[in-house]
Symmetry: C2
Subunit: 320 residues, 2 copies
Amino acid sequence: MISEIKLHDLNEGRFIEEKVKEISDAVGDGIAINALSGGVDSSVVTMLGHRALGRKLRTVFIQNGLMREGEAEMVSGIFRKLGVEIEIIDARKEFLDALKGITDPEMKREAITQAFYKKVFGRIVRESSAKYLLQGTILTDVDETVAGIKRQHNVFAQLGIDPQETFGYRILEPLIQLRKDGVRAVGQALGLPQAIFARIPFPGPALAARIIGEVTEEKLTVVRKATSVVEGLLSGRGAFQYMAILHEDRVTGMRDGKRDFGRQIEIRCWDSIDARTATPTKLPFELLEKLAVDIISEVPGVVSVTYNITSKPPSTIEAV
Amino acid sequence: MISEIKLHDLNEGRFIEEKVKEISDAVGDGIAINALSGGVDSSVVTMLGHRALGRKLRTVFIQNGLMREGEAEMVSGIFRKLGVEIEIIDARKEFLDALKGITDPEMKREAITQAFYKKVFGRIVRESSAKYLLQGTILTDVDETVAGIKRQHNVFAQLGIDPQETFGYRILEPLIQLRKDGVRAVGQALGLPQAIFARIPFPGPALAARIIGEVTEEKLTVVRKATSVVEGLLSGRGAFQYMAILHEDRVTGMRDGKRDFGRQIEIRCWDSIDARTATPTKLPFELLEKLAVDIISEVPGVVSVTYNITSKPPSTIEAV
C-alpha cells in the first residue's frame, strides 16, 4: 500500500531533499538512466535525478514517432537552459513496427510498453551499463491500473512484473506518493519553467492514444496536426487537459460540392483537479466553431469535428 | 430541368388545386399507391393523393424495423383522425436481411432502396394492381443526388432509372418543385397537424442512416433509445433537425469502477432554412450535459457522448 501525500500536506522543499537522498543512496556509485518525455512527471524526475546524481544520470528523449509537433527540440531546449543535457534517440521505426496491425487499446499500450522498456530501453541500458531506471509513475497511474480501468505504461510492481528480472534493471519511482497537483508544486520548487510544470498531462502512449484503431504514419500526421490546432486554441484557458482524437469511423461530408467520405476528429477538453473525476469544459460556442473551422481547413481529409460532453466517469480522460 | 417554386412565390391554395388535378388526371380510373413514412414530405403527398383519389389511393406504412419508437401507431393514429386509413405492413425481416453485412453508406442506401421499391413495394404493387406510385421527392433530394453528394432513396429519373421498366409502375412526384419550407406551408394548408407539418426531417433510410457500420437489430435498439432521449430533450427549441448517431468505434470508459470498452453516441442539432447549408445549434452547455447524462443512464453500453460542432459544408446533415 502506497501512502499518499496530498497537496496540502506536501512540503516541497523537504520532499525534494528526501527524494534526492533516496535516489543518491540507491544508485551509489552506479549509473542511472531516465527517459524524459517532456511531460510534467518525467521532467520532475529528471530534475530530481540530476540533483541527486549529476553526470551519473543519463537522460534520454526517445523519439518514438508518436510525439507532438516539434516536441524533441522544445524539450531539449528547455533542459539545456537548466544545465541538463538530453540525448535524443531515434526509435521511430521500432515503435511503428511494434504497433502495426494492432487495433485493441490495451494491446496498443502493451506493444508500446514492450517496445519502450524491453526493446529500445533494454538496448540503451545494456549499452550504458546502468542498473537503475528513474521513472515518473504517480499514484493515479497505479490506482487506474490496479482498478483495471486503464493499463498505464509505467506500472509494473502492481501488475506483478519484476522489472529486474524482465528488463534487467531496477526502477525508482520518486513521485509515486503524489498526484498531478503535488507533482506540479514540486516541479515549480525545482525551478522548472511554467511551460513544463504547468503543462497539461499527455499520455504515455502519446499520439497512439489519440488514434482509434490501427496506428499508421498517415494517421499520426493527421492527429498531430489536429493536436496543434486544439492546443493552440485551448492553451491558457485554465483547462486541465485537452486533446484531439482521430476516429476510425468515416462519415459523409462534402468537399468542392462533391461527396467526401472523410475523417472525424473528436475534441475533448477537461476540467479536473486530479484526473480521477473530470467534467467537459464549458467552452464558448464561438470557440467550438473556431476549433471546427480551423481543423477542417488545416487538417486534410477531415470533414467533421465533435466535442465530447460526457463526464468521467463513465468516460475516461483519453479514448484509447 | 425542374423549375423551383420558392416559398415566397408559393400560393398554397393554388398549388394544392393544381397538384390534385394533375394526380387525378394521371391516375384516371386506376389505382395509385403511396408509402407514408410519417415525415413531412410523404404526409403531404398522402393528403394530396387522398384529395385527388379518395378510395382509389392505397396508403401503406412499411414497418421496416428502422423506425423510431412507436412510429407506426403515432402516424396511423394522426391520419385516422384526418379520415385517411393507413395499412401497416410488417417488412422488418426483409430490410434487416437486405442490410446484413453492409458497412458502406452508399451500399446501405442502395440496399434499402432495392428492398423498398423492388422487393416490398414490388410485391404490394403487384398484389394491388396499382400502376402509379405517389412519392414525396423534393428539390433538395434531386440536387444532392445529381451533385453526387448523397444518393437519396427516392430519386430515379435523375439517376437514369426508369421506374416503369425497373419496378413496374409510374412515379408521380407532386412536391418536386418545392424545398422543405414550401412543403411545410402546403402541409399546414392541407390541414395536417403541427406534429406532422412542423416535424423535423428524418432520412429515408431512417435509423439505418444513424448507424455507422453494419446495421443490426442490437444497434437499432441502441440508436432508437438514444434517438428518443435526443428528440425528447431537443424538440420544441426551434432547431431544424436533431439526431443521435451510433458510432462503430469503441472508446474506453469505466462502469462500476472497471474499464468498459463501450459505445459512443454523437448528437447533431442543426440550424438551417432549407438543409442546403446548416450550422450546429448553439445549445446551452447545461442541456448538452443533460443529454449526455440521460443517454448514459438510459442507453445500455454507451460510455461517451459527443456533440457535432461542424457546419454543412463540409459536413452533411446526416453522417451516413
